[in-house]
């Protein structure tokens, strides 16, 4: 087209405009690297200092390993070690929900992708719509429902809603419809394998990547969820995310009315924040590539 009739503009040689553009682009990218990284670096260093050092020392200085231990002891000593209870609750809720999610989502995604039944299409469309609703939108309606059946305050009140994970069903559906051919399954059927056997012995072994992916997304969203357990699980039933906010009310700096009761020093709160995200942060560090595949899974249709 125009490449033929228009003379090519030479791109070699010194072009000041282009260099200015590059420098500006690098600066913008660099400023945002600082913006994203500084809080995390600070958070990792803060628990190495005591309350005084945190206020006076340079923000990115390292305190000492001994101080980490002191801060941890202060955190573990708060309300007779309630932080362990919170972490235990988080693990219980996240892992139980993860197990149920996998047991129900993988077969459902398989059925949507590779079997045919009357309600298949409606189920798929409802799944898509619900998947795109922010999970906070259903928290109060689910709370009102749970309170009507008197389940509020029991572990089931968070485990069951966590287990409803339409995004996982959609990921499985996409995986099975793009990576597993129906012919392969039909060949097994002709050989006389039952439907259950086709699923268990042919589809399941092929599904390992998507099982890991669904597991990852479900676990992190369960662990990080605040609103649902906040309304469902008061007191010592809380997971760590809700417990963290509870710790906050005992920080003297933020809440002077708590003076007199047991107070939490700022580095201890920082340590608690770090502990609360540690499992997810570690998984993130080791599975970045994995995540990117999952997040772009929607856009298979171009």
């Amino acid at each position: 087209m125009s490449a033929i009739d228009a003379p090519r503009r030479p791109v070699t040689g010194f072009a000041p405009g282009r260099w200015v553009g590059r420098v500006v682009a690098f600066l913008v990218a660099g400023v945002f690297v600082l913006f994203f990284a500084i809080p995390i670096v600070w958070l990792i260093l803060a628990p190495t200092k005591d309350a005084r050092q945190l206020l006076i020392d340079a923000p990115f200085s390292f305190g000492s390993f001994g101080t980490i231990v002191d801060n941890w002891n202060a955190l573990a000593g708060f309300q007779q070690g309630i932080v362990w209870t919170w972490l235990g609750n988080s693990a219980l809720y996240s892992v139980s929900a993860l197990a149920i999610t996998l047991v129900v989502s993988i077969p459902a995604g398989y059925a949507l992708a590779l079997t045919d039944f009357k309600l298949r299409r409606p189920l798929l469309i409802v799944t898509l719509v619900v998947m795109l609703i922010p999970n906070t939108a259903l928290v109060l309606p689910v709370f009102l429902e749970m309170s009507a059946v008197r389940l509020v305050g029991t572990p089931l009140a968070v485990i069951l809603p966590f287990s409803f994970f339409p995004f996982g069903v959609y990921l499985t559906f996409i995986y099975f419809s793009t990576s597993v051919s129906a012919d392969l399954l039909n060949a097994a059927r002709i050989d006389g394998a039952s439907e259950l056997r086709v699923f268990a012995q042919i589809a399941m072994p092929l599904a390992t990547p998507v099982i890991a992916l669904v597991g990852f997304f479900n676990f992190t969203s369960n662990w990080n969820n605040y609103f649902l357990p906040f309304v469902m699980e008061p007191g010592n039933k809380s997971p760590i995310q809700v417990g963290l906010a509870e710790l906050l009310s005992n920080v003297a700096l933020f809440n002077p009315t708590s003076a007199g009761s047991v107070t939490i020093a700022l580095p201890v709160l920082a340590l608690a924040t770090l502990v609360s995200v540690a499992p997810v942060l570690i998984i993130f560090l080791f599975s970045q590539r994995f995540l990117v595949t999952g997040m772009t899974a929607g856009g298979t249709k171009e």
Partner: protein, 280 residues
Amino acid sequence: MGYAFSSGYAVLLVLFGVLPTLYAFFLAFTKNGAFVGVDNFARVFADYRFLPAVQHVALYLVIWLVLLVVVVVLLALIVHAIRARWLSASVRFLYFIPGALAGASSVMLWLFVLDPTVSPVSGLLRGLGLESFVQTVSVQNLPVVFTVIAFWTGAGGWIVIMYGALNNIPIEVMEASRIDGAGPIKTAWHIQIPLLRKWIAYMGIMSLAAGTQLFVEPRVLSQASKGVVAPDYSLNQLAYLYAFKQSDFNGSAAISLVLLVVAVALAALFVFRGGLFERD
């Protein structure tokens, strides 16, 4: 057989997707079990806290969406233009990692960052005239504060998604544009951004839906700021107060239902018009 395989999920879908919605409908239009029409909605809308909450959320959404779209697209284009693979991958990784801190944890971290006495960027805060935590979280700053927190946690994921979409643009298209003599800015404006349109729309709609639900940020800040941030700042907080402080489940359901209808409408709009998801 399809029914057997999908039955477990279908049961959960009914119990935790459909039933709560129907129950919220029932509660929102009744009082003590008797049908009252739109009374609950009228009462909630007339509440002196309702309109300010709508305004707070709306202002936050405008700032947040504009910043999100502009900066995410800009950063994705820049990162995509970096030729050294290791550098591009490391920058994306750094942008992305705060996504691990969601919910209360990221708000908690930002309490420190926003408090000039301990902040790693206290110089910057003081330069902006903010001398104390209470000043930083004063009401007129809140939409910006929530935007910064939400952007810090969520933008990296979107940058990675946009980067992936940029990679999907056929190499011939980019090549043709270069041969025609278009520089990086012209290419971005006339080729890349138009081809990203679907993804930008997806990001905008999802973030709009999520933003209307604002809860954990004002809730934790309210707890931390001795009430400088009001406990009824956002709509979801108000719905929460109705249920928990006033034991008015009907009013709470009415607010939740309004928010839910907005979320469902946006999601459905995207599923049917966005063309990004496989519906076969």
